[in-house]
Every structure is written in structure tokens, then in C-alpha cells.
């Protein structure tokens, strides 16, 4: 029994204390958080832009205006680009996307983390775009018409009427997307970016101890996800109580 605990302590010490290895975990955690945070920002930005293009295109298709205008042609082209983007991103594995970004696009750059941020941000954008679009589509057409009948143009209608309501509807799906994103950043370990998963695996190979490094990494992800879930629930409740 005593032997067991002393063995356990030894592996714990090897994993976290010897050589200040806990600092590796901390650095890895910070890298994971940085990548996830900036990728999420990029994903939101891209997602809303793409959703804006696709919804605008859909609306114009429906409205049946008589004259074909210059703007319609632009929207049509942008819509095709957005569709290709969504199809490619959703149709290929994230690991391959990171590898392409890292080994091809960033072949001559040393900024590994930026490659990860771009790769995951672009990936997330495709999913956010579909979530936002479904949110916009979920709003009753009457809302759009009421706003237009007052004299609001398309953009103001989106801004004042549609998006605030859509946002509330899609918040759970968006939150879920970011939880997935946090976990998916672990794929960056595959190309040697020193985030949390990479660090866990590195310590495992140095110490020949698998238990503590891997369980520790798993627990850290779990805590991040639980924290995110908690914050999202709070935000949802706030939004729900702000109106009825």
C-alpha cells in the first residue's frame, strides 16, 4: 500500500514538479487559450460576413425585383465564393486544414501559433456562418416586412430587428461551436505547436509516465469547457430576462 502511494507520488513529481514541468503545462494552457480565443474572434467575424452575404443573396432572390442591378451581380459572385468556402471547410478534416496551413501556407514562417489561429478561425467561420444564417432564417418574415414598411433599409433592418432576435436564438448553438473549437485546437499538436495537448504528450514521452500528463490535460480541457458552459448559461439567462 505504502509502496503504491510512494510510486504515485514519484510519477506525480516527475510529471509536474521535476524541472518545473508544471510551467510547461501552464504555457501549453495559455497557448491553447490564445489560439482558441483569437480563432473564435476570427470565426465570428468570418461567420457573420459570410452569413450576411448568403442571407442577402437569398433575400434578393425572393424579392423578384424587375431590374438586375450591379449590386446583384456582386452579391452573386460573393455568394458563390462563400458557398465554396463553406463546402471545402466542412468537407475536409480539421487536421488536414491545419497541416495545409502550417506546412504549405506558413512553410516559410516561424509564427506557428498564427498558423493555428488562422486555420481554426477559418474553420470555425464556416460553421458560425451556417449557425448565423439559420438564426436569420428562423426569424418570422413579418419582422422583416414590418421594418421595411416603416422605411428601414435592408442593412438597418438586419441590425435593429433581425440580428438581435437571431442572436438570442442561436446563442446555444454558437456556444456549442466555441466549446468544440476549444477542444479542436488540440489538433494543433499534430504539427508540433506547443499547446496543451502537445505539452501533455511531450511530458509523457520524456517521463515515460502516461497517467498524470494525459489525465491532467484532459482535466484542464474539462474545466475550460465547464467554465464556458457556465458563462454561456449565464448570458442566455440574462438575454432571456431582458425581454419576454
Amino acid at each position: 500500500m505504502q509502496q503504491f502511494f510512494s510510486d504515485l507520488w514519484t510519477s506525480f513529481e516527475k510529471t509536474f514538479i521535476y524541472d518545473d514541468r508544471w510551467k510547461f503545462f501552464l504555457d501549453g494552457l495559455l497557448a491553447t487559450l490564445r489560439i482558441a480565443f483569437f480563432a473564435a474572434l476570427l470565426g465570428i467575424l468570418l461567420g457573420f460576413l459570410v452569413a450576411a452575404v448568403r442571407s442577402t443573396y437569398d433575400m434578393r432572390q425572393q424579392s423578384g425585383k424587375r431590374a438586375l442591378r450591379f449590386g446583384d451581380v456582386i452579391i452573386k459572385i460573393l455568394n458563390v465564393i462563400c458557398n465554396v468556402y463553406i463546402t471545402v471547410i466542412r468537407g475536409t478534416p480539421a487536421v488536414i486544414q491545419v497541416m495545409i496551413m502550417y506546412f504549405i501556407v506558413f512553410a516559410n514562417s516561424r509564427n506557428k501559433e498564427l498558423a493555428a489561429v488562422l486555420s481554426f478561425g477559418i474553420n470555425s467561420g464556416a460553421y458560425v456562418a451556417e449557425i448565423v444564417r439559420s438564426g436569420i432564417m428562423s426569424i418570422d418574415k413579418g419582422q422583416f416586412e414590418a421594418s421595411r414598411s416603416l422605411g428601414f433599409n435592408y442593412t438597418s433592418t438586419m441590425y435593429h430587428i433581425i440580428l438581435p432576435q437571431a442572436f438570442k436564438n442561436i446563442l446555444p448553438a454558437l456556444g456549442n461551436e466555441f466549446i468544440v473549437l476549444v477542444k479542436e485546437t488540440s489538433v494543433a499538436a499534430y504539427v508540433g505547436i506547443a499547446e496543451l495537448t502537445y505539452v501533455g504528450n511531450l511530458i509523457r514521452s520524456r517521463t515515460y509516465e502516461a497517467f498524470f500528463p494525459l489525465i491532467a490535460v484532459a482535466l484542464i480541457y474539462l474545466v475550460i469547457v465547464l467554465l464556458l458552459t457556465f458563462l454561456l448559461k449565464k448570458l442566455e439567462r440574462r438575454l432571456r430576462s431582458s425581454d419576454h
Binding site: 424579392s63 419582422q143 414590418a146 416603416l150 435593429h160 432576435q165
Partner: protein
């Protein structure tokens, strides 16, 4: 009937198709300031489509609509500016559920007419008082009854100081006991001289405040007359048939 009042809306040869479906097949109409034009017809005959073409919520596939001297079907016209002068009330109310009654009413005036918040709120409260809903200013739409919602929808449109009000079956989604309160507001508006185009099945309303009644059938206006002739001396056989069902 005086004819020297200014023509607000002139509709000429209005056509609308949805793909293969030819809904409006050439409609002519003239709405003068102060007119209350009541549009009746069977369900699916194109009444809503006609009304929604007037403010270009539906884009006509033929003909012209001239509003205050401007051909608004011309693609180079900025329709948003003209819509500010055409209030619209929908069957399903379409209040903005994420905004209070007051915010519903002041959004347009502050953002589009550049009124100050205080100014817009003052006007909104006055309008709410007129329809007996001043105490609901800070309520959210889903805290209101159907009749209250529709009255708010009417004053939301009025807050923009429109020159004409378009109503698309404003009482059809209401419980029977709430129809009266909404019709009363509309009658009041008509008496104050508001120009109105009203699609409705409320024949009592049509008879009482309509200045011209049109019967839409098979994509055209089959009959158009004053309320007395319309109800007491209908000419078109399809209208006679229609009236025998609804009266």
C-alpha cells in the same frame, strides 16, 4: 363626392405574377387624399398582393404605381423614403418582440426621421393615449392581448406621420371580442381624414367608413362603387355571389 382632392396613389395596369401564377392581371385604382378604399374579395384572390404592391413589399411584374407624383415602380427610386409615408398594418401584427411598446414606436421616428428621443417619446405617448394604451408603454408585445397588439401596430405606423395607411386584414387574427376595439381605432382614423386602403372582411366597417369599395376577383377589379351601391345594388354576378356568402 369631390374630385378636386389631390391624388395620392395612382395604380395603372398593375400586374403581379409569382412564377407561373398570374395573380394580378391589370389593376387600375386612384386613391385621393382622405379616401378610405376598402378592398374585398375571396380568399386567395390577390387582395394582399395588391396591397403589398402599393409599398413595393411585392415588386409588380407590370404596370406603374404613382405615389405623391413619383412613379415608385421605377427601379431608380429610393423606395425606403416613400415607405416612410405609407404606414402598414399586418394581419399578424408583426410587433418587434425584443422591444417595448415605446421602443417599437420610437425606432422609426428617431432613426429615420431624426427626431430626438424625447420628441419621439412624447409623440408616441400621445398616440398611445389616443388608443387607450398609455399604461402599456413599457410593456413587451407578448404581454399584450391581440387587440392591444394591433392597436400598438397601428400607432407604431402612425408615429411616422404617414400620408396613407395600408391595412391587410387587421382584425382577421383577432378573437371576436377584440375586433371591435381595433375597428373603432380605424374608424376614428378615417373620421380624422386619414387616407386608408383597407383589405377586410368586415362589411360593417366597409359600409360605415368606406369611400370606395372594390371587389377583386380573378386578378382584376370586377366592381367598384360607393358603399351604398356596392351592397344594395351590386352588378357583377360574382360579387352578388360573394356578398350572399359574407353578409
Amino acid at each position: 363626392m369631390t374630385t378636386d382632392r389631390e391624388v395620392l396613389i395612382e395604380v395603372q395596369g398593375l400586374q403581379k405574377s409569382f412564377g407561373e401564377l398570374h395573380v394580378l392581371k391589370g389593376i387600375d385604382a386612384e386613391i385621393r387624399r382622405g379616401d378610405v378604399m376598402v378592398v374585398v374579395g375571396a380568399s386567395g384572390s390577390g387582395k394582399s398582393t395588391f396591397l403589398r404592391c402599393l409599398n413595393l413589399l411585392e415588386h409588380p411584374t407590370g404596370g406603374t404605381i404613382t405615389f405623391e407624383g413619383v412613379n415608385i415602380t421605377d427601379p431608380s427610386v429610393n423606395i425606403n423614403l416613400h415607405r416612410q409615408k405609407m404606414g402598414m398594418v399586418f394581419q399578424q401584427f408583426n410587433l418587434f418582440p425584443h422591444k417595448t411598446v415605446l421602443k417599437n414606436m420610437t425606432l422609426g421616428p428617431t432613426k429615420l426621421l431624426h427626431q430626438s428621443k424625447a420628441q419621439a417619446e412624447k409623440h408616441a405617448i400621445e398616440l398611445l393615449e389616443r388608443v387607450g394604451l398609455a399604461d402599456k408603454a413599457n410593456a413587451y408585445p407578448n404581454q399584450l392581448s391581440g387587440g392591444q397588439k394591433q392597436r400598438v401596430a397601428i400607432v407604431r405606423a402612425l408615429a411616422m406621420n404617414p400620408d396613407v395607411m395600408l391595412f391587410d386584414e387587421p382584425t382577421s387574427a383577432l378573437d371576436p371580442e377584440m375586433v371591435g376595439e381595433v375597428l373603432e381605432v380605424m374608424k376614428q382614423l378615417a373620421r380624422e381624414g386619414m387616407t386608408m386602403v383597407v383589405v377586410t372582411h368586415e362589411m360593417g366597417f366597409a359600409r360605415e367608413v368606406g369611400s370606395q369599395i372594390v371587389f377583386v376577383d380573378e386578378g382584376v377589379i370586377k366592381e367598384r362603387s360607393n358603399p351604398k351601391d356596392f351592397f344594395e345594388n351590386p352588378q357583377n354576378p360574382r360579387l352578388k355571389d360573394f356578398l350572399s356568402k359574407v353578409l
